[in-house]
Assembly symmetry: C2
Homo-oligomer: 366 residues x 2
Amino acid sequence: MPMNSVGFLNDFVDTPALLINEPVLQKNLKTMAAYCKNTGIALRPHTKTHKCPEIARRQLDLGAIGLVCAKLGEAEAMAEAGLGPLLVANQVIGPLKMKRLLKLNDQVDISVCVGRVEHVEELIRTAEGANTILSVFIELEVGMQRCGAAGPVAALDLAKKISDAPRLEFRGVMGYEGHAVGTKDLVARHHKAETAHHELALAVAMIRENGIEVPVVSAAGTGTFNLGVDRDELTEIQPGSYCLMDSDYHGYENVCDHFELACTVLATVIDQVDRRIVLDVGLKSIATDQGLPVTRWREDIIPFEIHEEHYCMEAGEDNPVPRVGDRLELLPSHICATANLYDEFHVFREQSLIARWPITGRGRYT
Amino acid sequence: MPMNSVGFLNDFVDTPALLINEPVLQKNLKTMAAYCKNTGIALRPHTKTHKCPEIARRQLDLGAIGLVCAKLGEAEAMAEAGLGPLLVANQVIGPLKMKRLLKLNDQVDISVCVGRVEHVEELIRTAEGANTILSVFIELEVGMQRCGAAGPVAALDLAKKISDAPRLEFRGVMGYEGHAVGTKDLVARHHKAETAHHELALAVAMIRENGIEVPVVSAAGTGTFNLGVDRDELTEIQPGSYCLMDSDYHGYENVCDHFELACTVLATVIDQVDRRIVLDVGLKSIATDQGLPVTRWREDIIPFEIHEEHYCMEAGEDNPVPRVGDRLELLPSHICATANLYDEFHVFREQSLIARWPITGRGRYT
């Protein structure tokens, strides 16, 4: 029971700290790259998980065809690092963002999503006003009840409008089956993913039947990266969490067979009474929206209560109680929301701290 | 029903953005300062809520005797801005933090908390090794079951040890009745606060009976700022959230009579189908640990689901449905955790954006 397998970091890394085990990260990146290469599907990883140019660069070096960003601000962070092509898998709206989009469009190959006529019209006005070409994906709503065109007919209408616009370039159609990705049961998840991809394929077919080329068809997250993606219509997948993983995802059948936990939060015991201990991490420094984090190697330590900067836990009977000053590794239950709380990753390999990677996309919500 | 009372910000502030209504903030600051002046209790506000030197400076300008910080990193942020005296209301542990504490101790009047003998011993070693004086508070556990000495006898033992150490200066005793602060019912909250302050007074009395001076006795948060603080033993209160407030606190009897909501998150509608709308804010940009945020002026808009960067809501029947591009103000349910997600406040007064205040303490968890 190695209570602190990263004890060599004690002299260099203060807590709480976000750690990356670099060989595990690299293994995850290679596993997904190899899967895509073997199955002939392109990989466009989502940067929303790590928001870190160094990890994005590794993904591109291993063959990814581009990056997906959740926000224009994240795309700016990647462009600042010289990375691309970029797809903002979101609706980009309003004059302030249009200015920033034009600036980015001069620097890097960037596409944005539309789901409604208003989105297309704003992009048309923007492209015409700037005398430039803007690249566009249609987002299709495939069952998540979030954003996107509601079905094939709505998608076709948007495709026509985009194709008719001299200053817009229609790049493809995207659907994100988040409702499937978040379904724990593998059979149900597989079924939902297949249904969503079928919806996507129907819309693409209708657009193509109307003489409009659809170069890219994009879908899937880490939970569905290999579920129902064997359709000819899908040209690429856009998983995010696979690189770092988290304890929630790692409980998922299919996912846990392929990827390992590469990222943990290092914490210090600051108080202890009987079997109860208090760690110097709280809901400001580790995400709790997917559940309370557990302790690596010490599953017997049960969460008691989490505060803003304190985590109160109780060590199981028959196990040693960690003492003040001891360090424990916590497994984030939601890595995307946890990494968003930090400015850097502390990266180690074997017994060495090899780098600190800035999370330059963090906090860039606009 | 003013759907967007901050529409004048449209040309300057992109969304999501954290807004401060400056006159409301200033009114909250003055209300608490006046309360403390009138009752003769000192005010040492907690910076964990705003982590923002500009707000801390205003608190000091209005008579606060110092600042409370949750972490050494927050104290560093305040010291960098030339602010103090500082009390880190937490146990500061380990050689890396000891180095930083010594550095801060050269720059500013700073105190840290201890709750166990190990904490005192590390501070003694540190102060002796550096040939300097370190200031110390004892934290007493007063019912929250978190950190601190367990009762008067344990506190007295620590006080003796601190007093006997030639290089430690004993500044006072602190108790935080978080379990009372978080109790919605006013009568129960008042009772818990009084009980906690009584525990604190007992410990202080025992220390004083043993001939040790206790200059400062500190307690209370925003929920208990005027509950049970009329004891002679309490010399100061340390509320945090009163400055900005949040919708959770504002639902509390007693609190809502004194303080108003000064801080909101501005969001844009990016998609809409029937009565359902999607905002460009999510759990990465607004805290959800105290419940889902509601929409200002539009209480009819009911939360449907929150994702990392999307907030799906449904407008009530008989009310207009916000359209793509419309902006809405959300009321954070937990302002401390929300402000921790942003790098700056956008500050407005009447119809003008008057400043952007950096949240320099954000992310400084160590």
